[in-house]
């Protein structure tokens, strides 16, 4: 993410050609370090809890929940990473999608995953409307305005849902939910579907960004807005489209994650901060990074419950977040920007 202070960055305007080998080497090095840290953490957890089963269950639950976090962060990494828009309302939009999905299931009794067909287009339109109406143009340019508008939007959506649906926790039942043992640990079917959904959505996004014209246009706008405009890309339309796609991902995440969580208007808040952590950890605008970041945060959460018994698992997430922000703001997979 380019330096957003008013002064021009110090490095010369021309960003030098990227030599492939150096970055590639760096990636393996970083993956090694992260893997190493994880193994040590798991070993310590083993010693501390004294039972292999507990740690194995934590790892399994951590990875599955991580898939859910990756799924939710997918849309945000596009918006925050590619468009450099701080979308604080991403959690609230997820909650809206969850209520749409809940509404559909309770009204027509259809299978929760079928509500994808409605939730994705609905959120796509909402995303486009939000961007075109609130965030585009001069109003949405400065960072403060983005933060404030999306903050206002999240308050509006959350309390709007609270006013019309009340705060009573609702559950979306998943017909045919099963679970199966995996080497002693228990794997819930609904979590597995969410995990696979995350992988599928990640692949779809990766394909869209890498292999399609639209994807190339999006990446061009992300790399250099004015440059893209010069070669004839309608930057404003791409911005709205990208924002809409990002929000549509939240729609998909809601349909898949619906059965896993209790649906309340304020659930967005809890997923919002985790999504930001995952995006920053995974590296801005990096779809694969969002998935891996999600898995890591899922594991960190589960290991925190073992390390600090009575502590909320979010504390571990925040500690990791502060460390990443300070030591490696561009995240594990991102490149050092100016």
């Amino acid at each position: 993410m380019t330096n957003t202070t008013h002064g021009a960055p110090l490095a010369p305007e021309v960003s030098p050609p990227q030599t492939k080998t150096k970055a590639g080497g760096g990636f393996l090095g970083r993956a090694g370090i992260v893997g190493g840290v994880l193994v040590i953490a798991i070993v310590i957890a083993l010693l501390r809890s004294g039972s292999g089963l507990v740690v194995w269950q934590s790892v399994v639950t951590g990875i599955l929940t991580g898939g859910l976090y990756g799924l939710i962060a997918m849309g945000l990494t596009l918006i925050f990473g590619v468009l450099d828009i701080v979308n604080f309302a991403h959690g609230a939009l997820l909650a809206v999608a969850m209520f749409i999905s809940f509404g559909m299931v309770s009204a027509t009794g259809m299978h929760p995953y079928l509500t994808l067909v409605i939730a994705i287009p609905a959120l796509f339109l909402i995303g486009a409307a939000v961007h075109r109406g609130l965030l585009s143009g001069s109003g949405g340019k400065s960072l403060e305005n983005q933060l404030l508008i999306t903050l206002g939007l999240s308050l509006l959506l959350e309390n709007g849902l609270l006013m019309f649906f009340g705060a009573e926790p609702k559950a979306i039942a998943l017909p045919g939910d099963f679970q199966f043992p995996l080497l002693g640990a228990v794997v819930a079917g609904s979590r597995l579907y969410a995990f696979l959904g995350a992988i599928a959505l990640g692949a779809l996004l990766y394909w869209l960004l890498r292999r399609t014209r639209l994807g190339t246009a999006i990446r061009a706008v992300a790399a250099n807005g004015p440059g893209a405009e010069l070669v004839g890309i309608n930057v404003r339309r791409i911005h709205t489209l990208t924002f809409a796609i990002g929000t549509a991902c939240a729609g998909a995440a809601a349909a898949l994650a619906g059965p896993l969580v209790t649906v309340t208007p304020t659930l967005g808040e809890q997923f919002n901060i985790t999504a930001f952590v995952v995006v920053v950890l995974g590296g801005m605008g990096n779809v694969v990074g969002a998935l891996v970041g999600g898995l890591l945060i899922g594991l960190v959460e589960q290991l925190t419950t073992i390390y600090l018994g009575g502590q909320s698992s979010l504390l571990g997430v925040f500690v990791v977040f502060i460390l990443v922000l300070f030591l490696r703001p561009q995240g594990l997979f991102g490149r050092k920007t100016a």
Binding site: M1, N3, T4, T5, H6, G7, L10, F80, V86, L134, G139, L143, E144, N145, Q146, L147, L148, I149, L151, G152, L153, L155, L156, E158, N159, G160, L162, M163, G166, A167, P265, E269, I273, F276, V277, V280, L308, G310, Q311, S312, L314, L315, F318, V319, F321, I322, L325, F326, L327, P329
Partner: protein, 348 residues
């Protein structure tokens, strides 16, 4: 030394410097406002008296936040951290060691300022900018909330109840329920905060802070000690917010992790300033009055809604919806906020 007058740009008529220095003009306005406010608690019925005290607490938080995010341009999403540190430090000293809340308030400001300098130093050293800085402050406040919720010496989730004393005492800042003294103590604190923000803005340090906000590199290249002034700004901002926290605890006689460090507190510090006008002196004041009044009006309306709004009966969230809409409207239509727009229009 010869002065070479290079031909000045055409059409620049000489503009005379304003008569009274802006600092004195604003301090004079503040004095007048304080005089007007003094009789308020005697005039207003008890329910509105409570609203007025709440507005003053909002005002203290808004002035605190405005110094860091308005004057300093460092957008903070975690001012609950300093509010909570102020509240918890004074409550802990009072409940566990029977220390007067005035001393607790001073200790609270010290602790909050120290925490602000700590997180400030690391953020500036690692060049955290814009959204990253906002997210870091948010994460810091949430971490404090979680730590306080699970540590014994802060009574975990129970929080602190301020012990009741029978008669009223200024030294322990405790008065009978509807006594106007709460309003006057809050008024003194709020007045002092606004005065400090006026003096600070027009002081040399204030000039450096504004320059650093406008263009950090240019300011540094002219000798402005950047890191030192940024840290002074965050410390002062945290100190004033901590005072709001300490007074809040004395007024409500209770604080727990959610009331002290919850994200709603950070939002409460931001919204009034944005509505009033970020970076202006009077923005936080006007914003606090509007938000405070709006919350009370909606609460009353929700309790006994007029016929056409009867469906609202017993539905919470309306007040937040209203000021969320107001926030978005202001940011889109009046980016300088109410006071900023009026000032800009009046100056032209």
């Amino acid at each position: 030394m010869t002065t070479i007058t290079i031909a000045g740009p055409a059409g620049a008529e000489k503009v005379k410097a304003p008569p009274l220095r802006p600092q004195n003009r604003q301090l004079a306005i503040l004095a007048v406002l304080l005089l007007i406010a003094i009789p308020l608690p005697l005039v207003l019925p008890p329910a509105q008296g409570a609203v007025a005290v709440r507005i003053l607490i909002f005002l203290l938080m808004a002035v605190g936040w405005n110094i860091m995010s308005g004057f300093g341009g460092m957008f903070s999403f975690g001012h609950a951290a300093y509010f909570g540190l102020g509240a918890y430090t004074s409550a802990y000293l009072l409940v566990k060691h029977d220390v007067s809340p005035w001393i607790g308030m001073v200790a609270g400001t010290a602790v909050a300022a120290a925490a602000a300098v700590l997180i400030g130093y690391f953020s500036f050293r690692y060049k955290l900018q814009g959204a990253y800085f906002a997210l870091a402050t948010f994460a810091f406040a949430e971490m404090l909330r979680l730590i306080v919720t699970s540590s014994d010496f802060t009574n975990k989730a129970v929080g602190f109840s301020v012990p009741l004393i029978q008669d009223s005492s200024l030294w322990m800042i405790q008065f009978p329920a509807d006594s106007p003294a709460y309003f006057w103590v809050a008024l003194v604190l709020a007045g002092a905060a606004v005065a400090i923000s006026i003096v600070f803005l027009h002081s040399r340090a204030g000039k450096y802070v504004s320059a650093i906000r406008d263009d950090e590199l240019a300011a540094a290249s002219l000798g402005a000690p950047v890191i030192r002034h940024k840290l002074v700004t965050v410390a002062l901002s945290a100190a004033i917010t901590a005072v709001a926290g300490a007074f809040y605890t004395q007024y409500y006689l209770f604080v727990n992790p959610e009331l002290g460090f919850g994200s709603a507190v950070s939002i409460q510090a931001i919204v009034p300033v944005v509505i009033g006008g970020i970076g202006t002196i009077w923005g936080p004041v006007v914003g606090a009055i509007i938000v405070g009044a709006l919350t009370d009006v909606t609460a009353t309306m929700l309790r006994t809604p007029p016929e056409f709004l009867s469906f609202l009966q017993g539905r919470s969230g309306l007040d937040v919806v209203l000021y969320a809409v107001l926030l978005i409207l202001i940011v889109r239509l009046l980016p300088k906020g109410i006071v900023g727009t009026i000032a800009a229009r009046w100056r032209r």
